[in-house]
Assembly symmetry: C2
Homo-oligomer: 715 residues x 2
Amino acid sequence: MAPMLSSTLAMNPAVSTLRAIFSPRSVAVYGASADPAKFGGRVMQFLLKHGYAGRIVPVHPTAAEVLGIPALPRLNGSGIVVDACLLALPSAHLTTALEDAGRAGVRGAVVITADFAETGAEGAARQNELVTIARRHGLRLIGPNCLGYINPPLNLALTSSVALAAGPMPRGTIGLACQSGSLMASLISHAQDCGAGFSVAATVGNQADIELCDLIEYFIDDETTRAICLYVEGLKDGRRFLELARRAHAAGKPILAVKAGRSEAGQQLTQSHTASLAGSHAVWEAACRDHAVILLDDPEALIYCADFLIRSGVPQSSTIAVISPSGGTVAVTGDRVAAAGLALASPGAATEAVLRPLLPPGRMINPLDVGGLPRASGLDSALAAYRAFAADPAIGAILIAVATTPQLEDKVRQWGQAALEAGKPTAILLTPGTLVDGARQALRDIGSPFTNRLDDALRVLRAAVDYGEALRNPPPSAPASTISEIALKHASTLPAGRLNEPDTKKLLRSCGIATTEDMLAPTVDKALAQARQIGWPVVLKGVSRALVHKSEAGAVQLNLQDEAALRAAWQAIAAGLSTHQAGAVLDGCVVQPMLKGGHELIVGCRWDAQFGPVVIVGSGGVLVEILDDVQMAVAPVSADHAKRLISQLRIAPVLNGARGRKPADIDALADTVARLSTIATALGPRLTELDINPLLVLEAGRGAIALDGRATLTA
Amino acid sequence: MAPMLSSTLAMNPAVSTLRAIFSPRSVAVYGASADPAKFGGRVMQFLLKHGYAGRIVPVHPTAAEVLGIPALPRLNGSGIVVDACLLALPSAHLTTALEDAGRAGVRGAVVITADFAETGAEGAARQNELVTIARRHGLRLIGPNCLGYINPPLNLALTSSVALAAGPMPRGTIGLACQSGSLMASLISHAQDCGAGFSVAATVGNQADIELCDLIEYFIDDETTRAICLYVEGLKDGRRFLELARRAHAAGKPILAVKAGRSEAGQQLTQSHTASLAGSHAVWEAACRDHAVILLDDPEALIYCADFLIRSGVPQSSTIAVISPSGGTVAVTGDRVAAAGLALASPGAATEAVLRPLLPPGRMINPLDVGGLPRASGLDSALAAYRAFAADPAIGAILIAVATTPQLEDKVRQWGQAALEAGKPTAILLTPGTLVDGARQALRDIGSPFTNRLDDALRVLRAAVDYGEALRNPPPSAPASTISEIALKHASTLPAGRLNEPDTKKLLRSCGIATTEDMLAPTVDKALAQARQIGWPVVLKGVSRALVHKSEAGAVQLNLQDEAALRAAWQAIAAGLSTHQAGAVLDGCVVQPMLKGGHELIVGCRWDAQFGPVVIVGSGGVLVEILDDVQMAVAPVSADHAKRLISQLRIAPVLNGARGRKPADIDALADTVARLSTIATALGPRLTELDINPLLVLEAGRGAIALDGRATLTA
């Protein structure tokens, strides 16, 4: 009962309140019922069934008792101190109950009732009303539109989820914060099946008050929790999330997350499911990658991956070995490893020396088929091979794919024992169905994690390898600005609206980013004069506030060799603009030197709903859409961080000088990315977007120069 | 017992022999034993346990009986007619036993013993010895290095796989041919779990005699079999496989396949596992796509996908709908659908009319969250929504993701019944673990397929949609040649070795493919004369038999404006060649006009170990490796087929004139692909490879022209 009596105070008051809520000395259930078909009936049933040792107070307008427990019509005035309550009531009765709980000094309320912000503006107003009542009493809310939580170490199930109707609650060290009640149920079931368990598993629903980040902070602070699993539909505060990710990283507690909203359909659904704004998924992915948050595509895999990291530990290197007595499984797994983004290890000489005598000539060492090997000096050759892998520092983690054989349970127990003893992260995979449930039980008995599908085994290994790499590469810290305060101050005074090409370039130059120097020529004769001054050939570009995609409107005319070509180009631009966009006014054209060679890239920044300013860098030019080659990061970024992003572009080998070409000026490109990220940070939400497209990156030492640019600012 | 007595004769003698083997009136077991730790012990045990009704003859040198069945020391001379025998013997006794079986007139022998071709040349020789004995007696072999087969409708398990130790054999209509014994065991287990079953499931091991294609032909011919599942490590005859795929397509029997050897590791493993040559995986994928063979990445998923196609039918359109009472699952599934290569359907107006009154305002229709909907006129709203989806012709297939709720079994039974009644392919997904095993049993009871992981549900839907599309798009037939017989005859007389650029182009021109007309200039002065004739600027290219990648060696010099530039370029080519490749001799240079505009593509052909001649078309130019944009097909292809390949290139939108550009001459490109495929077919294995790189594809109507080319021929 130590957690109940803990008096340690966390820095964030929400965390100490969550302690009171998750480890309460007593709980009240508004809407308590004896009928398991009702939410309040299941909550009562599960509270009793799982043996919560604290006081239970059913609150019911008329009943004297519920399931044998004395009930009260209200808490306020009863003199009973209750830490947490659950409200399973129709909407109409919620505010009264919440007022009662608030007056009675309850610290936290779990609101199961739905039909709030997730259904639109009217529901949002009712939700705000709940929050207002709670704030007035210093009461914190979980939900509404949630399913409650479980605290297995306390035998406490304060939830209506039918997952609690079966079996004992799975105790363990996974902290789960989940924006979906039924996904929590599925995860509880998988934890039960694979021998994993939770410190606390909680749903947060619409996050009207207590939100995912509060739970993450609680789990970082909670001594029992060793890994944090999240099902996220939307973050209330992306920057807080990243700060907590840094703290979790420092504390050695992996955060694993599934986030809905990758697709347009998913985004729309998160809105109507838990009133969540999903933000850009690409930004979310980039932010998580940079902050050691392991992203998964499958909710149930959260349990497998977290359990593996907790029980098997973190790989010290990023390559894996595969071993199986099934030749078919080895061949299939060998193929799937690369598809899962994993690399096969090259075992060292010591491993080779152990294995060669055990294997038929010519057999591949990794992945390793140990089917039909002879027994070696009383020890099974397959186990000897496994131990050699486990002792090899070149191997970060091992996949053992079990095949059906006689005495399977005994063999699997031996595999599991060997894995537990070896101390090397080892995923055991049992692909057959219920046929091998006995082997599964054997692994549960000895405390070894396992998976049932190759998909999950590969996810587990990928998550472990990714987390190992994240531990070796701490999240980036905020870089020092390389742009003068004056320039940034000036930038922040720019008027709202679209910035045309000349004005955007002026802003860029003031912040130390090279651009072509071009003035707006209001007439074709002025343009001709400029062209003669610059020297032929030139580029002519139409400038209009209304024009977004210049190329599509024919407003970029390249490689003009003489006066006739320039005049014809001006005509074409004017004609193209009027057909492309009715009513658009040509403000004039800019004349630029026709630069050749170098690489065209895009560098830009955006305002993201979850994370604020982000910076992007990507391939430009005509194949840009086909390449789909963009990297991004939450701004600001250092030049070093920018170089990491650039190195992950598909175009990177070309920039680095593949096939005998000269390398590009990656320093200048990285500097441009860093400077743009500083501008975005300084301007904050005012800068909706700014694009340099293209940025011409010249040979190493020769710099990078913005050939075109545009920006949009809000008031 | 009808299959046993069937006397229909198939066209292929292997098929009628396989009938005798798979539906034998009697079986003999060489190496029969009472000890289940031995192969021959398990075979006997499973034969008895599953109640095979035919005669069982244990063959044992000394024992009078095995497990109560009278045993013989040999078959020959016993007067007993045996259709099939299984040999579970040490290598040393195999040939004697096989001679005995042959003399006794046994029609087929299953050889479980391993250590043959899969271990190298010596084992291959011993394997050939077995085949020689078998051929001498007209006996067909399955294996060696296999695990036998099961015929559940006959209660016949002629296998040592421990999968047969549990439960009844799963009877059904899936035909499985498997090159891995332990994968067969896993698949039998999954079939048992999901309520699916087999007509016959057989392993083929090293395919020394009977091979996968024989089994495919058997299954096409077999009335019980409705879908064919394959685990393939290597095909003996790729063209026969494609011919059978055409027959299976015509018979409406889907072929689903997992093939090992996608990766280099996988290829090496198939060699040491079953002595299989994997061939190019890209060619395999292309051949399967064109011949309605559904490729999967996961062996267990074969069962789920085949069972779904058999029991749920084929989608009539390619878009899907998702429905679930779990908002979280709906959001996650919405995201995963696109990642699985599936498209969400846009439900029609009639569906909208049914659903809108049931849903809160603004809720998305597909994917559809039916959580917490009110009951509508006595009928559950969720079921009403499902039925509306099922009736909508715009929806090809439906995914129902079940969530944990009270009365789950009853609800799931209702979902399953509705799906069976609706007649629309519907995948039911139960993501929780054993918590919902009751619901699984309910679905088994009513005969409804289901899956347990979102990965598999999406695989099932993707396979069904792909098969539906394949049924609507029959495999291509062999096109008529558009190249003169004389040209092809001449081509086939070319000498062995590398063809340089001028000779390759000569070959291309003779077959009606346009090329730049360039002669080899042996000296710089000759090159200068040619340049003056062609007109500046020109391209100068080094020609050397030793040179493979001209660009890397600096042997392609573009845009030469005058004599000085040409002389400098010649020097650079000579210098580059000697540093790039010691001992390489410069045969001279070719001079070409500097063509601008158009799109650079690669068109080529290769000889593949499994399928023979194949043709490829892909993006060329400097970004070619980054784009990784290649399509291929088994040659020959028609121009229409070539256009389908071109339309699947990532560069296709650019070729079609995206962003206001002029469309490219796709007719000319397709014609070039078709002609090259005809050349490859005519030259057969003599043409190792031929590449046009680049082929310059000009604006529509202006043609395509080979700027460079090379070829390699064997003797």
